[in-house]
């Protein structure tokens, strides 16, 4: 039986829908891609950091640069600053994804617009026969929910339109740095998620079931 099988079956079974938000292990992640074209794009880097409840475990982080063995469009290099030379030393995707599967075992995945991350990971994993079954939360959806359940604000409609990471960071009084670096962005997302967890708790969100209904991807 291949090694990944074990991870996959555990991650989906261990999590009860009734789990309290504090008791969950979260892995907050971000990916950088060759492009946003979902047909042709490849995974360039993955950054992730683990949280036990609302506690960010600074030593429990994951960062890999992959070598997709394809050319990287210049317009995307400008964003993530990963050039062909930089990824040349990167690992082959298979090894990285194995390690990532192990890292996210038993965890709820969290990401900003996490669908993009999930799509690429599923695509890359699919090529080597893996599956990604962890429950996943989209911080953009959660933020949307929090705003609509918060005190009335005059610029609510404007706030609901602007959902990029720096805007959210500002909303939660956090300073962003090193944008578009997968691990930096994952860390920033984790810090936003940490504050969101308290906001959700204050609004009566108790368990995974409710959380998934709010922000599930």
């Amino acid at each position: 039986m291949p090694g990944w099988w074990k991870h996959e079956s555990q991650s989906s079974e261990a999590l009860s829908q009734d789990s309290a938000l504090d008791s969950l292990r979260y892995v907050v992640l971000d990916t950088e891609l060759t492009s946003l074209d979902s047909r042709t794009n490849r995974l360039l880097s993955v950054g992730a950091i683990a949280m036990q409840g609302a506690s960010i475990q600074l030593g429990n982080q994951f960062y890999r640069v992959l070598n997709p063995s394809v050319s990287i469009p210049p317009e995307s290099v400008v964003i993530h600053r990963l050039r062909v030379e930089d990824v040349a030393g990167g690992e082959p995707p298979r090894q990285c994804l194995d390690d990532l599967c192990q890292f996210i075992e038993g965890a709820v995945l969290v990401g900003h617009f996490v669908d993009i991350d999930l799509n690429i990971l599923r695509k890359e994993m699919g090529q080597t026969g893996r599956k990604l079954n962890n429950p996943a939360i989209d911080t953009a959806r959660v933020h949307h929910w929090i705003l609509r359940h918060g005190p009335y604000s005059e610029d609510l409609s404007m706030q609901l339109e602007k959902m990029d990471l720096p805007t959210l960071a500002k909303f939660y009084s956090l300073e962003a740095q090193d944008a578009h670096h997968a691990l930096s962005d994952a860390f920033l997302t984790a810090r936003i998620w940490q504050k969101m967890l308290y906001a959700l708790k204050a609004k009566g969100v108790r368990n995974l079931r409710k959380l998934l209904s709010i922000g599930g991807a």
């Binding site: 880097s45 506690s55 960062y63 990167g90 009084s173 308290y198």
Partner: protein, 643 residues
């Protein structure tokens, strides 16, 4: 620009923060990177109780990354007395990590706060492995706590010490330690045991021919090594001794001794003077030392079973004052701690009274007045109190019962060292011991039919604060008062008029109001011209704004947050009040030491240049407050004076 995948951007962020935080800044980048990976980042929304007093001590050291926390003592009625604050780059939880005791203080987030959390075992590892870190912890703490600069007073970051502070500020020689028992290496186990029994000691040190200690045998060794293993008693004591001996120099900070005990899990430390054994310090000695904390006085009060025993509490309470002042406490903290102790003493006395007289026929509420009501007592404290009780059909039996109760309390307070109030503002006075309805009538009269002279008497009652019994009685009265005060223009103007009677002096010497003759010739009355005007001004503004607080600092800080006012004047008054109170306290502390009569007189000659200029500013703030009152209530004041 390329990213290196070998180093983590997250770890970099943490390390660059730690680089500026003592004592972590003394670690190498490599060590910091390693430490960072053991840490977690925690978020505490405003008002989160991070550590709760009485619960097991926190397992971690916290470094404030963003925001701030307060360290507070919880009072009997659940109020918090803030002892200290920690903000960005400062740490908390160090001592609880070291002592593994129950937490003594609440730590509460005063705003949304981010903290790095370092697990206890990592802290212990650091302290025992890195000399620079542990020395730095000591040194910075000492200088920070001991060097009470005026700058600190002004910015109100004054700090107060609990046991933690004592451990930092006292040296080993400050704690009386018993002389060490010494024996030779060829002493037998039996002889050593006999020495211990004879001296009623718990440890004996084994010395070599040169006289230096090479080992220690404790009562634990006798139990675990001799008895449990049935060792023959004529063996040499060296077979059961532990070595090497852990020693601290008498000149070292007490913290060192605690560190040695905790990190090695031992209970005895040899005290040496230039290498020669002079004493033995035990964990018990350190525990006794903790008796000098406010918390211990509280425990003492709670534990007493008679008024006679309780009488010793007063001494302990006033014993706290010099200690707290020496440790650099803010004046307002000192007076609050004293008020809390006095409150608990009253509660205890009333318990004794009820035990003797039986339960009260109707609920009552014991209230304190004046400076006691404002929690601003200094060394000199007389009885200022009153009693409210519920209205009932059977007034006669209530009258009878409360006459006895208040007489008991007055005597008990006297026994405990609180003199009778010269103005007879005491619950034992039938005038100030009334059913609720009568109090309401009285206050209503004061407030609606204001007279210059009657109002002066009412002043002391406007700072009323409930201490024991049924607080809802007090609250009912207070609620009515607030209602009546809303449109009591005349009363407020009378108050305003009284509050601006004593003008603070504005300059030194020439314009300073000094006593012209008598015992206090050329001295300045700090209360009459300093704290008094500020207290009075704060009261007028607070009553006008419907603020419930009685404490002057609380009144001023609430006033400074009101949206429609300029906060600066209230902030200035707060600082001025803090400074003037501290001067008063220190002045009285000196008088206590010199065995003089307590008073509020200060001789300007005794001040440093810096203190003088601060004093001048403080007076100026008080004068500005008075000007503001006159401006606001001008017309009304004139009409009062014209009458």
């Amino acid at each position: 620009m390329a990213h290196s995948s070998s180093e983590s951007v997250i770890t970099d962020t943490v390390v660059s923060f730690l680089k500026n935080v003592p004592p972590f800044q003394f670690l190498s980048v490599r060590e910091l990177c390693r430490l960072a990976t053991t840490m977690t980042l925690e978020f505490f929304p405003k008002d989160t109780v991070i550590v709760s007093a009485g619960h097991p001590a926190s397992e971690s050291l916290y470094i404030v990354h963003k925001g701030g926390v307060k360290l507070a003592l919880r009072s009997q009625v659940g109020k918090q007395i803030v002892l200290d604050k920690r903000s960005e780059g400062e740490i908390f939880g160090l001592l609880s990590v070291m002592s593994k005791d129950l937490a003594r203080l609440d730590v509460v987030a005063i705003e949304d706060t981010l903290c790095y959390r370092v697990p206890a075992e990592q802290v212990q590892k650091l302290i025992s492995s890195n000399a620079e870190v542990s020395t730095f912890l000591l040194r910075t703490s000492v200088t920070r706590y001991m060097d009470r600069s005026l700058q600190e007073l002004r910015t109100q970051t004054g700090l107060m010490g609990d046991t933690e502070r004592l451990l930092y500020s006292l040296s080993v020689s400050d704690v009386p330690s018993s002389p060490p028992l010494l024996c030779q290496q060829n002493t037998t186990i039996r002889e050593a045991a006999q020495m211990l029994a004879h001296a009623k000691a718990t440890s004996v040190f084994v010395t070599d021919v040169s006289g230096s200690a090479v080992g220690i045998v404790t009562d634990r060794d006798f139990a675990q090594k001799v008895v449990a293993q049935a060792l023959p008693l004529d063996r040499a004591v060296t077979e059961v001794m532990s070595s090497p001996v852990v020693a601290v120099e008498a000149s070292e900070r007490l913290f060192r001794a605690l560190l040695a005990m905790v990190s090695r899990n031992i209970h005895h430390v040899l005290v040496t003077q230039r290498g020669t054994p002079t004493g033995v310090l035990t964990a018990h000695d350190l525990m006794v030392l903790q008796g000098k904390s406010p918390l211990n006085v509280v425990r003492f009060i709670e534990a007493q079973t008679s008024v006679q025993d309780l009488a010793k509490a007063n001494q302990r309470i006033s014993g706290l004052l010099p200690l707290l002042l020496r440790e650099g406490a803010k004046a307002s903290h000192v007076t609050r701690v004293v008020a809390e102790m006095n409150d608990r003493l009253i509660v205890k006395i009333l318990q004794f009274a009820e035990a003797k007289l039986g339960p009260p026929p109707v609920p009552y509420c014991w209230v304190v007045l004046g400076s006691e009501g404002r929690r601003e007592q200094t060394f000199k404290t007389d009885q200022d109190n009153a009693l409210l009780y519920a209205d009932s059909e059977d007034q006669a039996s209530a009258r009878e019962y409360f006459a006895q109760l208040t007489a008991f309390a007055q005597d008990a307070l006297l026994t405990c060292g609180y003199p009778i109030c010269p103005g007879n503002y005491m619950a034992s006075n039938p005038l100030w011991r009334q059913p609720l309805q009568a109090w309401m009538t009285l206050f209503h009269e004061w407030i609606t039919q204001a007279e210059l002279h009657g109002t002066e008497d009412a002043l002391i009652f406007l700072d009323m604060r409930p201490v024991a019994g049924d607080f809802s009685l007090y609250q009912a009265l207070a609620a009515k008062n607030r209602e009546w005060l809303k449109d009591a223009g005349m009363f407020k103007s009378v108050l305003a008029c009284i509050s601006t009677t004593h003008k603070p002096p504005l300059g030194f010497f020439r314009n300073f109001v000094l006593e012209r003759s008598g015992e206090h010739k050329d001295q300045l009355d700090l209360k009459l011209f300093g704290t008094g005007p500020i207290v009075d001004a704060a009261r007028v503004f607070a009553l006008d704004a419907g603020i419930e607080h009685t404490n002057t600092a609380d009144r001023l800080s609430t006033l400074s947050t009101a949206p429609d006012r300029d906060p600066t004047i209230f902030q200035d008054m707060q600082e001025a009040f803090e400074f003037l109170t501290l001067l008063r306290l220190e002045c009285q502390l000196r008088q206590v030491r010199e065995g003089k009569e307590l008073g509020n007189y200060l001789s300007p000659d005794s001040l440093t240049q810096l203190q003088r200029s601060l004093l001048k500013e403080a007076f100026r703030a008080a004068a500005r407050a008075q000007a503001l009152i006159e401006e606001r209530f001008r017309t009304a004041i004139w009409s009062q004076l014209g009458r």
